[in-house]
Point group: C2
Chain length 503, copies 2
């Protein structure tokens, strides 16, 4: 996964201008190597075009690149309507995208990331003329998994809000959209197999759901931007809304000897539960093509299980004693097995790892709890399992914008461990939970704070250890986000040439 991408600009036939290196040479996140020069070339939107390198195995017809060319042409020249993928014109920018030769998913991302870097290097002078300084970049991401979680259950997020987030993720080179699509409060995923889940479990059966078409649109929008979509169907806890449309799925809670009328986590002792989960996950894996699926497993409240006589009998039969973590592990083992049969790698929240110390199945552990999160990373990697780190990047709770420095200063590998252990840290993820967040405040709460995590996950840690050096670059990048229509809040006093116009 360390395939490198060289990006050089060869610009024959363009006037070389006098000029210096701009004060802020902002590529965010910082490339592994970037060499600027004072040589400045002017760019003409009429003559500019993207061309596949002669050495590239990819030709026109690769939709991801073709569409990226069109998109980035418009991002570079916002005044122009589009175009830029034809093969006429006086000047060429010959993007030597070596990585293009291999079209599997990771390299694809690198290609798009190269276009993003290129687009960030184009500046406008005081007269509005576009130019680029001669630049050589060698780049690759430090971590392969650079995620962002959205929670569409606590508040419904309209499709447009998700698509906009994907746009901004691509600009920041985040490459995994972790879709925490359902949870206790609502079930907006419209299942083909179990339509009652959203019909009875969504906030509204028509206006507050994601249809199959919506989901496809999200996945396609993400794919074209080099972003994977990791769907999470969290169980056995966080499933209150599931119970509305799937009777007998949840555990009936008891008050003394009688059912209290309330329900707890998924009932782990019924065969019907596993039939349902297998059917649901089979559908989910047919809809979401990513090789990972997130199975949740966090924060299971055992009190309802404890109250239920059938569960207690089962515990006894299984020899679990009074240790309900064993019951959860039993359930999760079954769900992970289903996922494995469906040819998916499972991701689970750290609770699952913590509860299950022997014969753990192979899963990726997402570390989310606060405290010594690197201690947990160390434990998980010591057990030979892969880790995604989320703890330090819970951005849903608002803080002052300058909190970005806290997110920036995270050191994901600063734990005692072998090289093998470090390699098991596949990346990290920004979490935007939905208790206090919906479409009204999602964007300014995410951006630019999430960019700090994005650079930490992409760039070399030593080269990007200074908050002071990052500040002007991030300020500049935030203005670029505004110009691209992302409602990113300000870092501090000041202004952008193009202020936010979305009021």
């Amino acid at each position: 996964m360390s395939s490198r991408c060289n990006l050089r600009f060869l610009i024959p036939g363009l006037a070389l201008l006098l000029g210096g290196v701009p004060s802020v040479l902002a590529v965010w996140p910082q490339p592994q190597q970037i060499r600027n020069s004072a040589e400045r070339y002017s760019l003409s939107a009429r003559a500019f075009l993207f061309k596949h390198a002669d050495v590239s195995a990819v030709r026109s017809g690769c939709d991801v690149l073709d569409q990226a060319f069109t998109r980035y042409f418009t991002l570079i020249f916002p005044e122009s309507g589009g175009g830029g993928t034809g093969d006429t014109g006086a000047a060429l920018i010959n993007t030597l995208l070596h990585c293009c030769v291999y079209m599997h998913s990771w390299n694809l991302i690198l290609n798009i990331s190269g276009l993003e870097s290129l687009s960030q290097l184009v500046e406008q002078d005081d007269y509005g003329a576009y130019y680029i300084n001669k630049t050589e970049i060698e780049d690759f991401p430090r971590f392969q998994f650079r995620g962002l979680l959205l929670d569409t259950s606590r508040h419904y997020l309209p499709l447009q809000a998700i698509l906009k987030t994907l746009d901004a993720m691509a600009y920041s080179k985040l490459n995994v959209f972790h879709w925490h699509i359902v949870d206790d409060p609502s079930f907006p995923y419209q299942s083909r197999k179990y339509p009652d889940l959203s019909k009875k479990g969504a906030y509204h059966p028509f206006t507050h759901i994601y249809t199959q078409t919506d989901v496809r649109r999200v996945i396609e929008h993400a794919r074209l931007r080099g972003i994977r979509v990791l769907a999470e169907f969290d169980s056995p806890g966080h499933t209150q809304s599931w119970g509305n449309g799937q009777p007998s799925l949840l555990t009936p809670c008891y008050r003394g000897d009688v059912p209290s009328g309330t329900y707890g986590p998924v009932n782990p002792i019924l065969d019907s539960t596993y039939v349902f989960m297998a059917n649901l996950l089979k559908e989910v894996t047919s809809v979401f093509p990513d090789s990972y699926i997130h199975l949740g497993g966090d924060e299971v409240d055992f009190s309802c299980w404890k109250s239920n006589p059938d569960i207690k009998a089962f515990m006894k039969k299984m020899g679990f004693g009074s240790d309900f973590t064993k019951l959860e592990s039993f359930y999760m083992q079954n769900i992970v097995n289903i996922s494995t049969m469906l040819n998916r790698s499972s991701v689970v929240w750290q609770d699952v790892f913590d509860y299950h110390e022997i014969n753990r199945p192979r899963y990726v552990v997402e570390v989310w709890k606060w405290g010594c999160y690197l201690c947990e990373v160390r434990r998980v990697t010591k057990a030979g399992l892969k880790v995604i780190l989320a703890s330090p990047w819970y951005l849903d709770l608002p803080g002052p914008t300058h909190d970005w420095a806290r997110y920036y200063n995270v050191r994901p590998l600063a734990f005692k461990g072998t090289e093998e252990q470090k390699k098991l840290v596949i990346g990290g993820e920004v979490c935007m939970w939905g208790e206090y967040v919906d479409a009204t405040n999602l964007s300014p709460r995410l951006w630019p704070r999430a960019c700090a995590a994005a650079e930490r996950l992409w760039s070399d840690e030593v080269q990007t250890s200074s908050v002071d050096q990052a500040f002007p670059r991030l300020t500049d990048f935030r203005c670029r986000l505004l110009r691209r229509g992302i409602q990113a809040e300000p870092l501090y006093v000041g202004h952008c040439k193009n202020e936010y116009q979305g009021i």
Copy 2:
């Protein structure tokens, strides 16, 4: 200022429906008296009209009311395009706006507030049909001054962002827009007399300024909504941007015996300073009609004054010793005198009061410092001066949305003092400073948290002492704000029938 407004709905000829009192009878802020009944009347957008009461001295032609009728017709019936002020139709809602008889500013506000209450009582049933429960309201504001400060210097706010804020203020019955229009970082006010101030002091001389037309538009938009515009030209500190366009206004700082090239607060020892300030304030009072003007006076850094030999000589001559608070008081006294000559009441930040213990001029003191702010309120009222309380309502620093409860629990009169002292507390104000705020995050940071302060300033404190009782009403009011296009963030998990569509 305690003029009361009775609002009763007489609805002849309308079908009386079976129905109950809706679970949340949300009028926000809570009226002084509200009596609901289960009698429900259906409303037809085709037949509905506003009519002046027979006892009202106001007839058509009062633009504030005529335009408010049109506006509230559309707010009540969003599907209808407009209209509703004609005099035909089968049914009447006869709004008995007694207060209408007197058209001075405070009563005007009450009238509009009555329309706002009415609009909040109209509900739609499951079939979309409009109805209103028979309701009797007697209402008046607890405090006359219910302000909201926007800072357009640290970040420029586009005109549209200000107008939207005024809309939301009217919905919340906030009635003073405190425009902190200039400060250190930029001077966006385009002065007729001193055009260089914005030309050289704004972030950009064309895109980041408020022209005279812009300012008139803000004042008119506010007036039509019963909102006063209190302009602040803060000096002698917070004036760095002024110096760009007005040479010799600021104090040259010294390093040893030589000027350092940097500048400090306004130079208080030059006649030219007072000529300039008199001219500027004369223009300002001709542009802003409100009887109050805010003169600032906060956070003056004395280090530059201390370094300047001319200032030191002046201090000696005046017998100020080394007490620079006396120099600031000397300056503020002169500025307050200018304002008095211009027939304006001055508002100043508490620093001015704190520094000047004898022979204080008559001004209104705005209390902004944290700590025992009620101690300060007590001191100011003991000195016989009016107070505006801002300390507990600094909303610019983000907090979790549930901070609203903190703003709600403020008790502005909970200090030991006489009845006379309490009457001197004319109100309070929400402050939205601009360090971390611009058009990208202004609305969700303000709303609905500012609504908590709005209710505290309008409603009876005893009747509105419970956060738990306020929560469902505020949740409901926040959905109403969304429906009206205000980007108000969520209080907690849940949804609105009409989600925010502004993405």
